[in-house]
């Protein structure tokens, strides 16, 4: 059974007019990710990558079709199952600065998911271990977000997402606000944690070099439609669709 299974999936921010006009934000998507898989989503700006991620974790309602997580249909979950899903799927966003409350110390921020999903207060030792898993020290728990660098914050965001032991990590451009050096650190970390924790990871990135280095399969989105899908080496080194070819060429121009 696939970990994530998307079938005949359609989404629009204005479903009624979409049904009339046939113009969708996401249209007829079909793909699946096996447990432990690492899927990359690349595509044009505005093609619907962030929208899809928000659909996969239940933050936006599915308009047509099905999304199954662990075999459960997202559209027909009870309130209880929804909470369970929130634990199973964790999300990291593009800008680490904005995913932390500036008035809250890191220790408090990082314990939020455990508090709200497991209804308990994590021990200091547990929090220190969490930070250690992403290479940071217990002293960072007392800091405020503005006292940390973007790279450190993004690592803390990863630790926070992993605190409730999710099976799936969805990452929407987790490294594009980071500089190249920190980008490499964060990517390495995601790849290592994935091995250790047997995570299924979906990574959205506009950066083909990044996606190419870590994922094992790719889907390419354009105007809300999947124009190409396949294993990473095939798609990158031997792109078939004209848009993917354009993407690879444009990436080569600005690659060192």
């Amino acid at each position: 059974m696939s970990h994530i299974d998307v079938k005949n999936f359609y989404f629009s921010y204005a479903p009624r007019s979409a049904r009339e006009t046939g113009i969708w934000t996401l249209s007829n998507l079909n793909f699946s990710v096996e447990a432990g898989g690492f899927l990359g989503i690349v595509g044009e700006s505005g093609s619907g990558k962030s929208t899809l991620i928000r659909n996969l974790c239940g933050l936006l309602p599915i308009t047509e079709g099905h999304v199954h997580i662990d075999g459960c249909n997202l559209a027909s979950l009870s309130a209880r199952e929804m909470i369970d899903l929130r634990r199973k799927i964790q999300l990291i966003y593009q800008n680490p600065k904005r995913s932390f409350d500036p008035r809250m110390r890191i220790g408090r921020s990082i314990s939020q998911p455990i508090r709200s999903l497991e209804k308990r207060a994590p021990s200091d030792e547990e929090l220190a271990n969490l930070l250690a898993s992403v290479g940071l020290q217990a002293e960072h728990l007392n800091r405020f977000p503005h006292e940390l660098s973007g790279g450190q914050l993004q690592r803390i965001a990863i630790a926070r997402a992993l605190s409730v032991r999710p099976g799936i990590l969805l990452a929407d451009e987790p490294t594009s606000a980071l500089d190249v050096s920190v980008q490499a650190q964060a990517l390495k970390m995601i790849a290592e944690l994935r091995e250790q924790l047997k995570l299924t990871v979906v990574l959205v990135s506009h950066d083909l070099a990044v996606v190419g280095r870590v994922t094992d399969s790719i889907i390419v989105l354009k105007d809300g439609v999947i124009v190409e899908a396949g294993n990473t080496a095939n798609v990158l080194l031997n792109p078939q669709h004209a848009y993917t070819q354009k993407l690879a060429e444009a990436a080569a121009v600005v690659s060192l």
Partner: protein, 328 residues
């Protein structure tokens, strides 16, 4: 056109940026690269008087002969937007969340021109088209939150170029764009620069992008220019150890099966991390992270000349016999 001399920016007594001399000629394009927290934004924002309120700025920044430091806010506001355009680093913070996109672009145009309503609307559509935004009717009516990250970023570029500025300051203007749109935007900036003789200060952490757009590169570390020269010679023959480490950390496009997927051993980062302000060492700012530091790095390191048009402040530079760390 732009001459920066002895610029010094400090926050709470700590130096965050110091530039002895930097000149930008008409139509010239200079790229600023460096890690997060190295001071790139601080330098370019202080040109427009947009540094944090707590920052103290001294020195001289002359734009077409006009001194910008200490200039009355009203005069500076007029120059900004009419003669100097700015693409700020954070799109979501820079757009007005309660105003429709069309109106925000129109305001940027009408601030500095007295064109009629129709002409302005025409120009709004032209700009939307220039920055490759699809579906102008929808974009004009949208509020910022209804646009994707990359669409918001392009709106900011449209606003910055609305008045065909003489100088464009672009702080990480393409971070949210996919490579094909990025390519089109970079080409747009190049065309504007060439056709309108527009100068460009381009901040980016991606060396490949900077090489594509700019003739010159300034590598920034600890608020200082660590190395300066022609883009190609900086990338192919760096002198400063920091530049070298930065180039090695660049993630390039995989070219074969071995480089694809799961091979994260090939991802390098610059050792250590950028210190917070006030915590940089004396002498060479980079020396506590550098594998090649020697005694003389502890004292003040002046700018030295490597070649014609190539300068750096490294005490133990990469010699021509040595192969740079560069794998590209």
């Amino acid at each position: 056109m732009l001459i920066i001399e002895n610029l010094h920016v400090s926050i709470a007594g700590h130096t965050v940026a110091e530039v002895e001399k930097l000149e930008l000629a008409n139509g010239q394009r200079i790229g600023f690269v460096g890690e997060s927290g190295s001071g790139k934004s601080m330098i370019v924002m202080s040109i427009l008087g947009l540094q944090p309120k707590s920052a103290k700025v001294t020195g001289s920044i002359k734009f077409n002969g006009v001194e910008l430091i200490g200039i009355p806010a009203k005069k500076l506001a007029d120059i900004r937007g009419r003669l100097i355009g700015l693409v700020p680093q954070d799109p979501t913070k820079s757009l007005n969340p309660t105003m429709r996109i069309g109106k925000q672009i129109a305001e940027a145009i009408s601030l500095h021109s007295n064109a009629g309503k129709k002409a302005i609307l025409r120009r709004v559509r032209e700009l939307i088209d220039n920055v490759r935004l699809p579906d102008p009717d929808r974009i004009i009516k949208s509020y910022p939150h209804q646009l994707s990250g990359g669409q918001q970023q392009r709106v900011l570029i449209a606003i910055a170029i609305a008045c065909e500025p003489k100088l464009l300051i672009a702080d990480e203007p393409t971070t949210a764009l996919d490579v094909t749109v990025q390519g089109e935007i970079l080409n747009l900036l190049l065309t504007l620069s060439k056709e309108l003789d527009m100068g460009l200060l381009f901040v980016s952490h991606e060396l490949g992008v900077v090489r594509f757009v700019c003739q010159k590169v300034a590598v920034i570390y600890g608020g200082q220019v660590a190395e300066f020269g022609n883009a190609d010679s900086i990338i192919k023959q760096p002198a400063h150890r920091y530049t070298d480490a930065l180039i090695a950390a660049n993630i390039s496009l995989p070219r074969n099966e071995i480089e694809v997927a799961g091979n994260t051993n090939q991802l390098h980062s610059v050792r250590g991390s950028v210190p917070s302000i006030g915590e940089f060492p004396d002498g060479c700012r980079y020396r506590n992270r550098c594998d090649f530091a020697i005694d003389s790095c502890r004292s003040f390191v002046p700018m030295r000349q490597k070649d014609k048009d190539h300068y750096h402040r490294c005490c133990n530079p990469i010699s021509s016999a040595e192969k740079p760390n560069v794998t590209h």
